[in-house]
Amino acid sequence: MSDSEKAVKELIKREYEHGFVTDIESETFEPGLNEDVIKRISAKKKEPEWLLAWRLKAYKAWQEMEEPEWALVNFPKVDFNDIAYFSAPKSTADAPKSLDEVDPELLKTYEKLGIPLHERARLAGVAVDAVFDSVSIGVTFKEKLTEAGVIFCPISEAVHSHPELVKKYLGSVVPQRDNFYAALNSAVFSDGSFVYIPKGVRCPLELSTYFRINEANTGQFERTLIVAEAGSHVSYLEGCTAPMRDENQLHAAVVELVILDDAEIKYSTVQNWYPGDENGLGGIYNFVTKRAACIGKNAKVSWTQVETGSAITWKYPSCILRGDNSVGEFYSVALTNNLQQADTGTKMIHLGKNTKSTIISKGISAGKSNSSYRGLVRIGPGAEGARNYTQCDSLLIGDKCGAHTFPYIESKNKSAVVEHEATTSKVSDDQLFLCQQRGIDAEHAVSMIVNGFCKEVFKELPMEFAVEATKLLEVSLEGSVG
């Protein structure tokens, strides 16, 4: 076995460090999905009539829909009646009024996860909304945000406190029947974050949500809605972990972003769901619909994602560039290892004049994994002067993995300029030998090479996330070289 192989084997042995289970009493629905379950979820949350009707409409649509099969991923069919659609820590049945009322076990979990809740949050200057299984646990730094007029709360709370906003925007970007998983989410979503940035406000803090699936056999269906009014600005971070379990767990989230004139949303994700073990046992199915609508002129949205977790990732954060001069950006690092599969990319829909989009996608495949970039750039007839630049790079580690690129380009306007560049490279033995000859061991060399490959994306991440992402890559590099 060569040194490089040994180094990578070493890395493989590192365990998923978020794989612990928190032992707290939960109230979990029995598995299964029907209208009654949806009514019970809605009742649990004391939702208004209109929302229940909205959910039921989504459920009807879902029943008539088929699971998408076009993605380059393979997995046994999910039995949707085997999943519990609601789980909440029992002690919060009466909803905590403050963090002091939250189960200490739960707070310990967050501590283990390194979430900057409580005082740590103040130091880090991050407001955190932590979603544990299906319920938001408490939002920090409400006061500072309230002062600025920013609303940042669980969506279940926003339904009551700001019904007019939720009603206006929920489903406005991702309609109930958009796709199979989005329809399912619309029917059963349990919680998620709601963010509203008023006109001209620059959000004083970086907002952050941490998702965690704890209970066995539960799905997590969070729903995030962010509205940036004219001239506002917000940076939003999202992190995800789950315990190690032998069975697969479903995560089907929907994220909707609404951006008005001259506003900007920067949305960063570090996704580290449990990827399953080295034989492909267990892990999260991450089937997520994320979409941003730049409704206003000069609106800007930027998706940055670092995806290292999940057994299967099916995710295409998209931008609808409706407003003239609006800008969409997508920066992505997707690392797959062992038997992980990722089919991820973006959609840039240019509708307004002089709209611009940039796609930088970095796929890293190691072990026996498969990683695909799937992207659509569509230029509408009215998108005079639209521009797109796409760069897709794949890096292979070892010779048992695969990287694929599926770019779709549709242009209906002659003045548009669309560029696509793609490269595939390998961490070569020669590169490793050069590093080793300079005194750098193979393990360090592989992570240095991979980090160099991802540099263009990492520089888009907020500082503390960039550090986390770098560490994550080191831990997740479980491939085989040579």
Partner: protein, 252 residues
């Protein structure tokens, strides 16, 4: 410093070195010459510990240690440096980051603290001028988009930064114009000292006008068939490899 006895080595099942003997003392500069395919590059790769090459027989002792017991990075940390004939690119990893990582790995191995950033920067800036490269090269990816000559100068820069005890230059002169050749030669001459040894592998005598060796060896078919002083190189230049009964496609 280095003693090689009856070294046999192969690559892809093919035996390339067939009983090579060589002895090098600290302070000496040895030139190894020979036609293409004689095993010159194989020797440099085997000394550096490239796993694509297998040693089937023989011994290599470096500073009283068995080289075959040492991993590639251990050899590097103990002071062996190879200037590559074809330096590879590492996109996105800056020259600075690469060298800093290398230096600190070596320092750690020797029980020293990490070099502080200011000191490192100062040294890097001085050294890059020494090899006549623009300081902007420090921030560029390792060899990324460099021309052939720039890559070779970058190798010399790394050599000067890492201050090896045994430097092996594998056809560093090939493909260089005369100005670049002088830069390389100046770099190597700057490194010459009584406690260091240098092995220069070359096809042509040209480099030896600028870096005058103490010994010249002629390698043919995996063995050293003739050794001598610097005048041997001149004789070879004049008479060609055919003089020693060696077929060489380039000089034939």
């Amino acid at each position: 410093m280095l003693e090689i006895q009856n070294l046999h080595a192969n690559v892809e099942q093919k035996e390339i070195l067939k009983g090579l003997n060589l002895k090098i003392k600290a302070g000496e500069v040895h030139a190894i010459m020979g036609p293409n395919g004689s095993g010159k590059s194989t020797l440099s790769q085997v000394l550096a510990g490239n796993e694509a090459y297998g040693v089937t027989k023989g011994q290599m002792t470096y500073q009283d240690k068995d080289l075959l017991d040492m991993s590639t990075e251990e050899r590097a940390r103990e002071g062996i440096f190879l200037a590559f004939q074809y330096p590879v690119e590492i996109p996105g990893v800056s020259n600075l980051q690469f060298m800093r990582t290398a230096i600190n790995n070596i320092r750690q191995h020797r029980g020293l603290d990490e070099m502080n950033a200011a000191e490192f920067m100062k040294q890097a800036k001085t050294t890059i001028q020494q090899v006549n490269l623009d300081p902007s090269f420090l921030k560029r990816g390792v060899n990324e988009g460099f021309s052939g000559g720039e890559k070779k100068r970058n190798e010399i820069m790394q050599m000067l930064m890492l201050e090896p005890k045994l430097a092996i230059l594998d056809e560093t002169d090939s493909g260089l114009d005369i100005d670049a050749l002088k830069v390389v030669a100046d770099g190597v001459n700057a490194l010459r000292s009584p406690d260091r040894a240098i092995i220069m592998i070359t096809h042509y005598q040209r480099l030896l006008d600028y870096i005058v060796p103490d010994y010249v060896h002629v390698l043919s078919n995996g063995q050293i068939i003739k050794s001598g002083g610097k005048e041997l190189a001149l004789e070879l230049e004049e008479k060609g490899y055919g003089w020693l009964g060696i077929a060489d496609e380039e000089t034939a």
